[in-house]
Symmetry: D2
Subunit: 429 residues, 4 copies
């Protein structure tokens, strides 16, 4: 049970001046380094996706598995599940400060108890904590037409029983959050669908989940993760604003926050950081799945984030809202199915963690420098006093504003200076 | 002043058996024909876009004007404006039952009074009514960074004065609705933008508009028209659910409804009828701009809708919510810039009206036949009684549902039968 | 061995006036009906995709199988493979005039011989012919980085051996074509890729295939099927013109034609019929995979084609090039994973066949009527004589044209009349 | 005539340690600095787009002009044209080493002679050279249905006369290249289009252009610039491979090369650097328009390139093919219409030049370091000897390869190591 699964790979350490082709060290991520009053690990709160990293096989719609792990015999046995879990904890420990994100690991309640007992034991032994728990309400064929929005009430009831157990497990393992992803909550054709009925039932489902969470004393936030499409043609949690509209319509906005994955944001037609910014502006940003996609592809590639500029924009928002705890930065990523070496598992996480460490440092520099924030603040300064302040506080009227502008005349127009801002950002990179 | 602008073109009439290349008659639209208890014109409430049809020049970002109209000398003179208006009313009259949609036609208040006097006179004379009025808060350079969301309070004040006048004109002309389209309400780069400030100010702007509307006794609905992008990189009114979320967040949901343009819906990544269906489900569908785009292009082509299947899906929703009055079906369309003949203006509207007339008849057949609706109803029947009904009415809990499903066991899974529904729809076409 | 696998389902027959919800009869497809001098079955040459229809499980990247077929025990045994084949031939026979498209059914040569013996026997017994054969050079993990373009020469050699056998099987079974689909021929990141080396090797691969085909006397055309992306980020056979450019660069244009799937065409950013039209214009259209996608989704949904207008545009091109034999119309489609009933397999094919039968009849009406073709011909008539004819035949020069236009003056500009053409098309629908 | 148009702005100089908000100095671009044996200016060969930068008004399809330049009175007078030209040369001189790209500046031949006389004089005086000339064959209404592919032979003749003059001007001004962009060469609807006729005529047009170029002794390359769509729905020069296929089909491949704009490449569904890499691999890369777009938008935003990683990928290809001369890096970019300050014109070009200077230095580091190139070379090493070499040189057969692989057995599969390559690239950034 204490065998080493990643034999040739040491604990990953910081080595700033490592050679270019040494991709098995951190060149930027320094867990204990203090940035704007907190350590890197406090700001970044990295988490590894158990599902993708330890259950991913490399299969895709056109291809068979390519990833064969020495500890995994491909079976559904408890022994295999436990071996996989031990490998995972070795992986977490070697990477350093990462918390797993955990899909519940088995389907039957009995097995679930046994495997979560082991998880709990490993957590205690290693000090690794669970960022969030979730339930898989999309893979089983019974959910092919949705869980909370299923046309069949029995299937919704089944999902309810499953989430009930999931919340209990979350409490048992001390999960800091509980996430819902509704990949099958949506429709394939409007022809066979009653949208209002489906949304109403799904809202009931969420209300019952919030009630049960309170009942058992699970204190972590409940999070909904938007995604526009895939696997469904249209998903009810299309993007941040769609979820916010849904929550507010059904009176759920105090019980739920959002888990934003920028890879889903770009699939919804927005720029990488858009839903991070929007949900933060509405006070609804709870946690982040930090994977990326290819902007020229129309599906979820779940790649490791390697773009420092994107990471900077995300971390700038996180810094501005003073952190994301109890949420975190989960790598809901998959190694490419062509990245078949065991060490690719490490290289990919290290590369992404370094990317976000650089993003954090650059964002902190931007904010402490204050040049960009000051120029933005100045841009809106007309709303700080006078008529602008009245507008902002809804203390004026069309009549008063007409009178004001009649006197004032044609307003001055100011350059938006986009290229100047882009150049300033580049100066920090 | 009574000269005929469209000399060779007679009043358009119904001729079901006209030759294929006779595109100057209605082959389907029969204004007075009764369908499901109302006439076609009552269901369809067609409207012509004054702006595109009478001010469009065919210019595009890469090309100069191609459309030269005999009544338009290209000047900004009042005489030209009036001639244009008379041409428009001849056009409305020859087409038959269409109401114009009107952007306010001039910028200075003085000219606006004079031109709306003429419009009023022509309306009375012809019996043509105004479907909706709007203000252009995007073309002038002062609005390049938004109107209600502008970083400069003076520009918001200017827009307020303009909408104030616009609402007065709407009342004067008996407009049945007032529409806001926020093409510049959004951002180009998040780097220079404070999203929350902009949204808060824009909400104030909408609150003041609603207050002024009530004050002057304008009774038509206020409508917001979603569009995801273009001209801005990101627009705050991305799609139906985004607008609904915004309205509910700022407490505006009782004062505003939505004007849906499926061409914008497809740009937001949804299928043609999606936002029609969504806004109707949320009780927020106020009116429709029925133009279409090319799904392989990423900008707003504003083509005339010529797809009968799309029209059927839209009209099915309109029938299901028992009509869209006081809203209507506005053709916010442009003839292609290569469609340079005067008669192309008629051909395009006639083709689109026939398309929607066919859509209406097919949708009515689907609903009166009842086969598809019954099969959909049956699909959700488990929510009509027992545990399903309790879920739908939020009268149960996770504990009760767990107990229920433990007894019941694995739920039965039913085929979604998408291809069967698609075949049935084809049977009606 | 002669058991009935589709017990409740009779041979599908024509019943024009069947009820709307009877989706198990042809309402339009009438195999022996003569249209423009050939029977429907001669024009349409329908084919069923063995792979999708008899091996599809409904699994997707987010979900487990949903389609459980009574004849399939999920094993890899020969008995199971044979039962599946018998079920398939019952399906082909009940549908009527369809030819299977066959991926080679097993991997080891021994099994392949045995299973193709059975296939041959069933073909003879039922009269069913094989439209085309292919090799699966993408599913096995060895092909994860390509087959003909693999960085490892041994893998290319392996693929060569596999195609060699595939061509032999094609000859044995009397396949009318042999198709290459290069889902892994492409790249995921340019960083690790030498494009020129990969293309050069892939061209060698195709040259050797053409040589071996001639050697063994297989006479069917070799076809390449373009697809822009998925599973690879970028595929070398992006679209029709990309393949044509590749073939011409490497001198392969006389040995290969194209198998066009409009679902791939739309993924490449073109309209549904575009690559059909382009490859036909270049004399390279060999066969058609007639499935469709959802224009708002960015991956290959392989839906059954149910849009009569799209089918009309495709069949118009097929009629104009006087048929597609020895190619055909293959339904490379999957029932939705939610379409779990056995009869959904029939309903989907019937619906698609009726759609193309309608498309054929409408296209034939358009061509025999001659209104649209005449108007198009007239549009280009200036190239039939005089200076236009000289241009078309490259018998003039810039100097001569300058002189001509100096005399002639500003050319007349004619309306493109897009809406008129769209209306005419609607008149035929 | 010698007045200073950009009064407050000095010649732009290098200042590596300038403050973040000083966006009016080069922080990276150092014209005379030697990189891999050539100076930065020799590698980069920057060029400014005269059309966008000196004729752009900020108008867009939804908005009026926003950019008002002090030297431009908006008229079509020669005096205005000359003032604009003088302002441009002041701009070129202040930026430093940039060559203009010039659309021919007027329509009538007489004016063209006069304005090109002045251009020639200013070129001599300042030492500024012309990177390329072109003709505008898309803006005038006569070209609304194409120039070389127009259905009307007279319009093709008109375009021929215009290009004839354009080539003469190119020779007169010593342009180093001549570029064709076919924005209207394509179709809006296939219904009114004969694709083969249009392509055949367009090929004739290009043949005549090549002939006339030789006749007058203009020695610069003729270049075609691919773009997939916009303004047309579909353009015949969709992307690099489409153009290459067209050129090879009509025997034009020796007379034309490609001018690649990555903004168009991304609109065609490829990654930023894709068409640069492809056209270079085929020996057809002639010049580069280096602007960028927003991946979440579906039209050509012509933004200034500010992404160092993209610039690195482009410059790596340029270095690998040992430069792009006589081509160059043209900024075919527009300041945002909200960037209304005169100095935004400078800031945008400076920011983009610095971006490419950084890209050049990083690419040079990657190549001289040799780590990445060596690892890629190693990846393909099996084609350097033995059976791989035979494949690469087309000296083997399917029979030989089958025999080889039978002996060898299942090939070894190697990790593609995408994340490792991405991490290495990040190490260089």
């Amino acid at each position: 049970p204490d065998a080493e699964f990643f034999a040739g790979i040491p604990n990953i350490c910081l080595k700033k001046d490592a050679a270019v082709d040494n991709s098995l060290v951190y060149k930027h991520y320094d867990a204990k380094k203090v940035v704007m009053g907190k350590t890197m690990e406090e700001w970044l709160r990295f988490s590894v996706c158990f599902w993708h990293t330890f259950r991913g096989t490399g299969a895709d719609p056109f291809g068979f598995p390519t990833l064969f792990r020495p500890w995994d015999d491909g079976s559904d046995s408890m022994a295999n599940a436990k071996r996989r879990l031990r490998a995972a904890f070795e992986f977490f420990t070697k990477l350093g400060d990462v918390a797993p994100e955990g899909a519940t690991l088995a389907e039957s309640n009995k097995n679930l108890d046994e495997i979560t007992d082991l998880a709990l034991e490993l957590q205690k032994k290693t000090g690794v904590k669970l960022l969030w728990a979730t339930c898989n309400l999309f893979a089983n064929s019974r959910y092919m037409n949705g869980a909370g929005s299923n046309p069949n009430a029995d299937i919704l009831a089944y999902a309810a029983a499953q989430v009930k157990k999931g919340l209990e497990v979350a409490k048992k393992l001390g999960a800091e959050n509980f996430v819902f992803w509704g990949g099958r909550e949506g429709y394939h054709t409007i022809l066979n669908t009653n949208v209002l009925t489906e949304l109403t039932n799904m809202a009931s489902f969420f209300k019952m989940a919030a009630a049960y969470k309170k009942k058992i004393g699970f204190t972590g936030p409940l999070l909904i993760e938007p995604k526009p499409k895939e696997p469904s043609k249209h998903q009810y949690d299309y993007d941040a604003m769609t979820v916010i509209g849904f929550l507010k319509h059904f009176g759920l906005e105090n019980d739920y926050k959002l888990n934003i994955e920028p890879n889903h944001t770009t699939l919804a037609g927005h720029s990488y950081e858009h839903d991070i910014v929007m949900s933060s502006a509405f006070g609804m940003l709870g946690s982040i799945d930090s994977n990326t996609g290819s902007p020229d592809l129309g599906w979820d590639t779940d790649q490791f984030p390697m773009d420092v500029k994107n990471a900077t924009m995300v971390m700038k928002t996180v810094l501005e809202q003073n952190g994301i705890q109890p949420g975190g930065l989960n790598f809901d990523c998959k190694v490419r199915r062509e990245s078949t070496d065991l060490k690719d598992m490490f290289i990919s996480h290290i590369g992404a963690m370094d990317t976000f460490a650089r993003g954090l440092e650059i964002a902190a520099k931007i904010l402490t420098d204050g040049v960009i924030p000051r120029q933005v603040k100045e841009r809106y300064s007309s709303y700080d006093t006078g008529v602008g302040q009245k507008i902002n506080k809804v203390q004026t009227s069309f009549e008063e504003l007409e009178e004001y502008i009649m006197k004032k005349g044609e307003p001055e127009v100011a350059s938006g200076r986009q290229e100047h801002y882009e150049s300033m950002l580049n100066s920090y990179m």
